[in-house]
Amino acid sequence: MTTVIEIRSLNFAYGSVPTLSDIDLQVTEGEFLGIVGPNAGGKSTLLKLILGLLQPQSGSLRVLGRSPRAASRMLGYVPQYPSFPRDFPITVEQVVLLGRLGFGQEGGLWRALRPSRTSSDDRDAVRGALEEVEAGDICKRQIGSLSGGQLQRVLLARALVSEPRVLILDEPTANIDQRLEGEIFDLLKTLNRRMTILVVSHDVAFISRYVSRVACINRTLVCHHTDAVDGAVIAELYGDKVRMIAHSH
């Protein structure tokens, strides 16, 4: 089994506030890893470190055998909140097309500075990705006219269009209703056949139906196989005031 992400004794702080302490985590190829934990526990921070968007103060972090920055083009990322204004004049198709930037680009700055043109491969990939997330029919729509669920599918297509080896999602279902949540996770389950998936969620009971392992983060990290996630684990993580919903695997 190939290790795709390897984190050893990693520490990260925003200013003087320690956010992640002494994190060790190995993710092997083909895993479907759920990351859970309380708000401000460091879940999103961990994802941003893996994506090379933040730099750790100490510890080592290798992604696909490289530094996170060098590997980030081979990852697909779906952010929790869209980091763009909803009234931006852009169509769904153009948003997904931006996901092709940097695709198949190896090497340094000069490559990144080469002017690029949209190829027919790019257009095919965009169509394929939109169909895969069942959003082919909205490709000409303005981004501002989409519902929350549609937008989430478009962001997923934008991440998939670069054929990533690892797909990283930050609360992909935070802003949509439960039926859509199930549909999105069913889709992720299918995608997991060809790529490693890391998904942050606040809903440990829900995701444990889908994922193969759960990493619990509250500044420090503890891993569980999904079978082992029970009341004691959740109580340890969130405190005991969590309402439990029984579920079986």
Binding site: R73, L75, A112, L113, R117
Partner: protein, 291 residues
């Protein structure tokens, strides 16, 4: 208007003025669109005003002010861009400081300029009728450079103005393209300062693109319409000002302002009407489903 057309066919200075208006509208349409969608009008304002420092220095040392404006604009763009990329928390304070410091330097230089006292008002509010014909070649060169760079990197620019975090994750050198974008805004500001002056430049940079944004929903179309609109507004303002002998810069800006306000009201009205029709359609469908 007829008087203007007749004068246009007779006087070279008017023909030069119209050519300058057309050339500056290319930058206004293309870069104005980026300024509007990226919401960096304040940054563009900082660049435009601090240019006075360079113009003042050029006057002091006896050069054409435009040759001082260009390097000053580029330095201001790089400084402001660097502040924005590295000190996000104090961005507005630092940009305001650069804005005012640039102007202060310019005023001091102009006050101490030897010999003939340059007309400060024409830098601040522009005088398109005084554009020397050799400036047109500089404007053509700057326009060509601007269009070539935007054509080559429009995908990267779109990625950076749309979603910086995602662009960074895709391995795009976001800092580089952000600074390049600001430098192009600076070049545009210099192009337009000759037409409307550095105080009014902000309006001509943003209003045509904002009007275009009321009706079209793609960056490319916004650029095209904003360019045409910018050209129409500059030449229209010039023609309006010619008869009653008004200053051309403020006339152009006032015309742009009126067009913007009317367009905003119209766009709002259209939007409400569309929403009402959609609601009525929805209500109609609801009734038809009743048994």
């Amino acid at each position: 208007m007829e008087g203007f057309l007749q004068a246009l066919s007779q006087h070279t200075f008017l023909q030069t003025a119209v050519a300058a208006a057309l050339l500056s509208s290319i930058g206004c349409g293309v870069m104005g669109t980026y300024v509007v969608v990226k919401r960096i009008a304040f940054i563009a304002g900082g660049i435009a005003h601090s240019v006075l420092g360079g113009m003042g220095a050029a006057v002091y040392f006896g050069f054409n002010p435009i040759y001082g404006a260009l390097p000053a604009a580029i330095v201001a763009a790089l400084l402001i861009g660097w502040v924005r990329l590295n000190w996000r928390t104090q961005e507005d304070t630092l940009i305001s400081a650069l804005w005012a410091i640039g102007m202060a330097i310019g005023v001091l230089f102009i006050a101490k300029a030897p010999g003939y006292q340059a007309d400060l008002m024409s830098y601040l509010f522009g005088n398109i009728l005084l554009v020397p014909s050799e400036s047109l070649w500089l404007m053509v060169t700057l326009d060509a450079m601007l269009l070539a760079i935007v054509a080559a990197y429009h995908r990267q620019f779109l990625a950076v103005v749309f979603d910086e975090e995602f662009a960074r994750q895709r391995g795009i050198p976001v800092g580089f393209f952000y600074l390049l974008l600001l430098v192009l805004v600076a070049v545009t500001v210099v192009l337009m300062i000759q037409v409307v002056g550095l105080i009014l430049v902000l309006a001509l940079l943003t209003l045509p693109a904002a009007v275009a944004g009321h009706y079209v929903h793609s960056i490319g179309r916004m650029m095209l319409i904003a360019t045409l609109l910018g050209a129409g507004l500059s030449i229209g303002g010039l023609a309006l000002s010619y008869g009653p002998d008004l200053p051309s810069g403020p006339t152009i800006i006032l015309l742009a302002g009126v067009v913007y306000v009317l367009s905003a009201l119209l766009a709002q009205g259209l939007h409400r009407r569309r929403a009402r029709l959609a609601a009525e359609r929805g209500a109609g469908q609801g009734e038809s489903r009743e048994p």
